[in-house]
Structures are given as C-alpha cells and as structure tokens.
C-alpha cells in the first residue's frame, strides 16, 4: 500500500474529493499557485484550475465568511487557515455563522465546509505558531472538531469532513506532518514511510467522525489523547512499562463516549493529555465526563497533563511541551494511588 506523509495524505484527500465532486473548492493564504506554506495543496491549482483552488487575501474573517456564503450556495468549500493561531479574526464567522446557520434557518441554509488549520507546538514556533485552540471550538454547538494523529486517519477523516453536511474544524498537528513525533526532540523521528499508519490507500475512503481508535490496549490506566500527544503517550507507556490503554480520540465533537467509558470502566484510572493550556482545555471536559460516567469505577483521581497556562514560549519549548517524561510521571502517579 502506498506510504504517505501526513501532508501527502491531506493533499491526496483534497485531490480525491476535488476529482469526485465539482462542488469542492479549496482556498486560503498561499494555497493556490504556491501550494500552501506546508505544501498541503501543492499541484491542485494546476490540476483543477484557479477557480477551484486559489489564493485568498490575508483576512481570516473573509476566508471563513466567503466559505459560509459558498456553503450556503451549495458548494463544499475547504478553507485553510495558515496557522490555527491565526483563526481568531475568523472566529466570529465560525461561531456566530457557520455553527448556527442550519439551526437558525431551520435547515433552509447550511454551511457544509471544512476549515483546515495546522495546530500544536514542537516546532519552535513561539506563541503564534504553536497554539492548540480546540477547546474554543468544542464549546460551540453546531461545530464538529476533528484532529488526526497520522496520515491514514488524516486522509480518511478529511474525506469524511468534506462529505459531512455540517461545518467541521479540521486541526492538523503540524509536528507530525512528516513523522510521528513522540516528544523526544533530541532523537530523530521515524518518517511516516516507515510507520504502519503511513500506509494510506489510494482513492476514496472515509473514517466516520465520532469514532475513537484504541492505539494500544492495556489494563492499568486509560490514556485519552489526540494529535501529537498520541505518540507521546505511546512513548511514555513504553518507557515506563505502564500497561496503559491509549485512546486516540480523533474527533472531539462528536465524542466517542462509549469507547472512553468502556476503557475507564476496565482500568479504573484515567490520564488526559493535550498540548493546549490547562484551564478550560478540552481535558477539563473529558475529565468531567469521565467522572460523571465512571465515578464508581474510578480508583484514582483523573489527571491532566497539558500545556501550562502561559502563552507558548519560544526558548522554553521543551519545558512547555508535555513530553514523555511528564506523561510518564502522571502514569506512575495514578497507579500509586
């Protein structure tokens, strides 16, 4: 089966969908001729023409706003926000418009659209190229929020997102674009070409939104993770020898509560990981739900290992990033209870 990096997998998903469905249009800053600063749209303008893949002015509100209009018309816009850190000027159009259009018009108008945005840290990008704003989307009724951790999922989830009739926020953990970074920044990363999840079938396949994947079975503790943190969790489990069950959520809304609950019922312990700032991060919601649903099965407090409640610093990248050591400590801590 062909091996792809996550960038290639995303590009392939766009290619497949543009070929299948003339309603799919792709645009954003630098995405046209140049193919995007992360090269995710390379070649698409040449293949499908400038009116289906084009550069947008540097206006995130404009990009999302016109996507809403296009969706209402009947197209399937896929907009790229160059970094998730830059989505804020478009946040009103996401929250007040895309998310509520179906509801407020009782289904007369809808906003089937995908907003792709590279997110997360680990690239020395400083406070404006490292953010993980997923919780700002999960709080908003009407949005779906998806975040793949590998090329196979990236392609299948992106195709599902484009086919979805609701607006989908599609977060791309850029640190794993080229390989499954596990937080050991001093070690070379394995490229996706040598990782089983780099295998991505050609053509069309979709991974339904709302289904988590169990990346590693275990009996001692459930680890809830997504994006880059899935790989960090795997490293931490391996290095500590803790018999952790690692769940890659893949979709935050809708959330695969069944898989989570089944696992925590089994392990009685839960550690939640994310890169975003802790306070009001998505980990809080996961923690709240796990204790609501599994209270009588819990044998230790649910722990969160997250980014600190500071802006993402530049020089202190590895003090900020919740790497395998911090995760490992948490795994041990919940077992000691």
């Amino acid at each position: 089966m062909p091996r792809r990096t996550m960038v290639e997998a995303i590009r392939d998903a766009l290619d497949v969908m543009m070929a299948r469905d003339p309603r799919v249009v792709v645009f954003g800053e630098d995405v046209g001729y140049f193919g995007g600063v992360f090269r995710c749209t390379e070649g698409l303008q040449r293949k499908y023409g400038a009116s289906r893949c084009f550069d947008a002015p540097i206006s995130e509100t404009g990009i999302i706003g016109v996507a809403v209009g296009m969706g209402a018309y009947g197209l399937r816009p896929v907009a790229e926000i160059q970094f998730a850190d830059y989505m804020y000027p478009g946040y009103d159009q996401i929250v007040s418009e895309a998310a509520r259009l179906r509801y407020r018009s009782a289904g007369e108008f809808t906003a089937p659209m995908v907003v792709r945005m590279p997110c997360g840290g680990g690239i020395f990008g400083g406070q404006t190229h490292s953010q993980s704003p997923e919780a700002l989307f999960t709080h908003v009724a009407g949005l779906k929020t998806v975040i793949p951790s590998n090329p196979y999922d990236a392609k299948g989830l992106l195709i599902a997102a484009i086919e979805d009739d609701d607006p989908v926020i599609f977060l791309e953990p850029k640190r794993v674009y080229n390989g499954p970074f596990n937080g050991h920044h001093d070690q070379p990363i394995v490229p996706w070409a040598r990782h089983p999840l780099g295998e991505t079938p050609d053509g069309h396949y979709a991974i339904p939104l709302g289904q988590a994947a169990v990346r590693r079975e275990g009996a001692a503790v459930t680890v809830l993770a997504y994006g880059t943190m899935v790989h960090v969790a795997e490293a931490a489990a391996e290095e500590t020898g803790v018999d952790a069950e690692i769940i890659d959520l893949r979709s935050l809304v809708p959330l695969d509560v069944e898989t989570i609950v089944r696992s925590v019922m089994k392990t009685g312990r839960c550690v939640i990981l994310h890169e975003a700032t802790r306070t009001s991060g998505f980990g809080a919601e996961l923690s709240a739900q796990v204790q609501e649903r599994c209270f009588h099965h819990l044998e230790a407090p649910i722990l969160r290992v997250t980014g600190w409640d500071t802006p993402y610093p530049h020089a202190q990248e590895w003090d900020y990033f919740p790497g395998p050591d911090r995760v490992g400590r948490a795994l041990r801590a919940v077992l000691e209870e």
């Binding site: 249009v25 009116s51 289906r52 947008a56 002015p57 206006s59 509100t61 404009g62 706003g65 016109v66 996507a67 809403v68 209009g69 296009m70 209402a72 018309y73 009947g74 197209l75 816009p77 000027p89 009103d92 159009q93 007040s96 418009e97 259009l101 179906r102 509801y103 407020r104 018009s105 009782a106 289904g107 007369e108 108008f109 809808t110 009724a141 009407g142 779906k144 979805d164 009739d165 609701d166 709302g210 809304v253 809708p254 959330l255 509560v257």
Partner: protein
C-alpha cells in the same frame, strides 16, 4: 524642537440633540435628474464623482426626470406603492403586537421602505439577498405571505424557524432571502462568497449584500470589499445610510469625513450614491448594478441615503438622543408620499384611490395578524415544541444532544 500645542481628541457630535432644531445642512442635495448615468461597463475611477452626489429621479412636482428615469409604467409604480404601503402597515401592526405582549421584540423599517421594495424589482428568481433586520420590504415586495412572517415574529407553532430565532430574523430561501443574523455585517462577506460560488459554478445568479451605515465599521464590511475587489464576483453591496445606528449618528461611523459610497473607491469598486426615498431612483440604480453583475463586470457598491423615521427597535426611544421633529424635517421626504405624488402626476392615481388602497392593505394586514395569532403568540397559544430546540444543531443529532434531550424529558 518647536514648542508643541497639546493635542486633543475630535469626538463627532450631530448638529442637534433633543430640544434643538433639526438641521440637515451636512447633506447637500442635488436637483432631481442632475446626475449623469454612465454605461454599466464604466471603469470605477471614472465615476468617483457619483459617490459624492445623490442620484435622484423624482422632482418636487412628482415628475420623473433625468437620465436615471427608469420609465416605469403606471402598473409597475402602483406595485411599488402597494409594496411600500404594505410594509409600513405590517411594521405598524407588529410594533403594536409587541406592545401588546404578543412578542418580545420588533424592528420597523418606517421611512426606508423604498430601498428594499425598490431594490427587489431589480432581482430575478434565484438571486439571493443577504439582508439585515430592516429589509422586510424585500419579502413584502414579492408578496411573500405576511402570515408566514408574522408567525416568525410571534415564534408560534407555525413559525418555520421553530421558535429558534429572534423576531424579524427571517429566513426565506425560496424568496432569495438569506437567514438574517443577529450579528452585524457577517452577511456582507457571505454574500460575496455566495456570488463567488455562483461565478465558480458558471451560474447566472447574482447576490445582494445589505448593511446599515453604522455597521460598515465592522470588519466584515472590509473583508467583503477586499474579496469583491479581488475576485470581481456578481454582487451588489448595499449600504443603507439611514443616518442613525441606534443612538449614534452617521458621523460615528466616519460619515463626517467622507460618504459611505466613497468607501468603494479604495478597492476599485464602482459606487453610486442614491436617494433612497425615491422609489424610481432605487429601481434605476439597482437595475444598473444588477446589470453590471450579470454581465460579469463585478461588484457595485450603492449608498442609499435615507432616514430611519422610527425607533431603532421596540427597545429604543429615539427622543432621548435626537429631536422628535427630525423625522419630519428630513429633506428627502417620505418615500410613499413621493411615489404617490408621482402616480398622481402621471394621472394614474388620486388621493381617494390612495386612501382606499391603504384601507384595503390595512385590512389585509389585520386579517393576516388575526390568522397568525391564531397559531399562537410568544406567551400564548400553540408553541414550537421543546424538542425542536435540540434538532437541527447538526444534520443528525449526536449522542450528547440525545442525552440532553432525555435529561430535559422532551
């Protein structure tokens, strides 16, 4: 270094406040017929002057004059008159209904009826308006059922929006009327996106964006102009300058320094400034802009100069911030009166027929209100279901909403 004089902040103030004498000197009004009518393919920079004048057709005698006279026949004029009268009567009835506690909120378009009613005459089936809360005239001019609109205002069991939306935030896809948002100006750039989609699809339909002059200050106004300037999609960008944004006069949006029509110039977009209380001028300018759009010549911005004669909404009391007499002193007059006089000047109308038409329309509106009230009002009678609250957030209801619906027990 030279001695410096202390700086100070300029805070715009309207010419008068309550207690003062209405003063519209800031508005310089050309004679009807005085402004030239360029061909629709004129380059933007050749008509900059049109952003600083006012296109007018109806003169004081009620005659249609000058190059913008659309030459509408009496039947078309009558249809316009009827639409405006109906809009006014509808507004009056709904204002009253709110005062009677039948709904929570209402927003009239009194004094501005010619803008929406006249504009709609330039559109075709399939075109899409992206309106604000003050373009009910777009629906009424199409004879959209009043009962349907009223059921939305009353949030009753026949409200097609299932009680989810604030009154007046209609949605009527079939009528080319995009779901109105409570967030200002978001629709302006969405209209540009819709028009881009039409162009991408090789379609022939055009879009119309709407915004109030106060709301031009919002970000999405700029985004709309930038995208319209870059991709030249088939869209008409309407700015309704009714002089007021709640309590803020147009100077607080920058109207002291330049016209809103002039905003287009920096984007290379042609613009017109038009007497929004002159139904014929509205029809003519809208048609000009629609023709541009249909011929793939791109966007046109139109500033409609009008006056918000009523309160901003049922929550507002304009006498707190502007003279009560201001409305009567508005120099462009009342759009209904002016069109009526034109029709009389054409020899096709009389005061008697006018009175009769008004009465007919009032009856029609009253009957519609009675019918709509029969389907319930906000606090009384049949209601949209509680379960409807959980539906339509997504196409399919996800688990967490099913659980929450169960939690509520509906």
């Amino acid at each position: 270094m030279a001695e410096r004089i202390p700086l100070s902040l300029h805070v715009p103030e309207p010419a008068v406040r309550p207690g003062g004498r209405p003063d519209f000197q800031y508005l310089s009004i050309p004679q009807a017929g005085a402004v030239r009518r360029p061909p629709v393919d004129v380059p933007a920079h050749e008509i900059h002057d049109l952003a600083y004048s006012i296109i007018r057709v109806l003169n004081r005698e009620g005659e249609a004059v000058g190059p913008w006279d659309p030459g509408l026949d009496a039947e078309a004029v009558k249809a316009g008159l009827r639409a405006m009268l109906k809009t006014r009567a509808f507004d009056a009835r709904m204002m009253m209904a709110q005062r009677q506690g039948k709904t929570s909120f209402y927003m009239p378009s009194t004094g501005e009826e010619a803008v929406a009613c006249g504009f709609q005459t330039a559109l075709e089936k399939g075109d899409m308006n992206f309106p604000t809360y003050r373009q009910q005239g777009l629906l009424i001019a199409q004879d959209w059922p009043l009962v349907d609109m009223m059921c939305q205002v009353f949030s009753n069991e026949r409200d097609r929006l299932m009680g989810r939306q604030l009154p007046v935030l209609y949605s009527a896809k079939e009528a080319g009327f995009f779901s109105v948002s409570g967030n200002l100006t978001t629709q302006f750039v969405q209209a540009v996106g819709w028009a881009m989609a039409s162009a991408i699809s090789g379609d022939t339909r055009i879009a119309a964006a709407w915004v109030g002059e106060g709301s031009t200050a919002e970000s999405d106004f700029h985004a709309a102009l930038v995208f319209a300037s870059v991709y030249r999609p088939p869209v008409i960008l309407n700015v309704v300058n009714n002089q007021w944004a709640i309590s803020a006069f147009q100077g607080i949006a920058g109207g002291e320094s330049a016209t809103f029509a002039a905003r287009a110039h920096g984007y290379g977009i042609p613009s017109l400034r038009v007497d929004g209380n002159d139904f014929l001028a509205v029809h003519a300018a809208s048609s000009w802009a629609a023709e541009r759009a249909r011929r793939n010549l791109g966007a046109t911005l139109i500033e409609w100069v009008t006056y918000r004669a009523g309160a901003h909404s049922t929550s507002d009391d304009p006498s707190r911030y502007r003279p009560k007499e201001e409305s009567d002193a508005w120099p462009l007059g009342d759009p209904i009166e002016r069109l009526k006089n034109h029709l009389i000047a054409l020899g096709a109308w009389s005061e008697e027929r006018h009175t009769q038409l008004r009465a007919e329309i009032e009856d029609e509106v009253l009957a519609a209100a009675r019918e709509a009230e029969g389907y319930g009002t906000l606090h009384d009678g049949p209601k949209p279901s509680s379960a409807a609250m959980f539906e339509g957030v997504y196409k399919e209801m996800p688990r967490h909403l099913r659980e929450q619906r169960q939690e509520l027990g509906v």
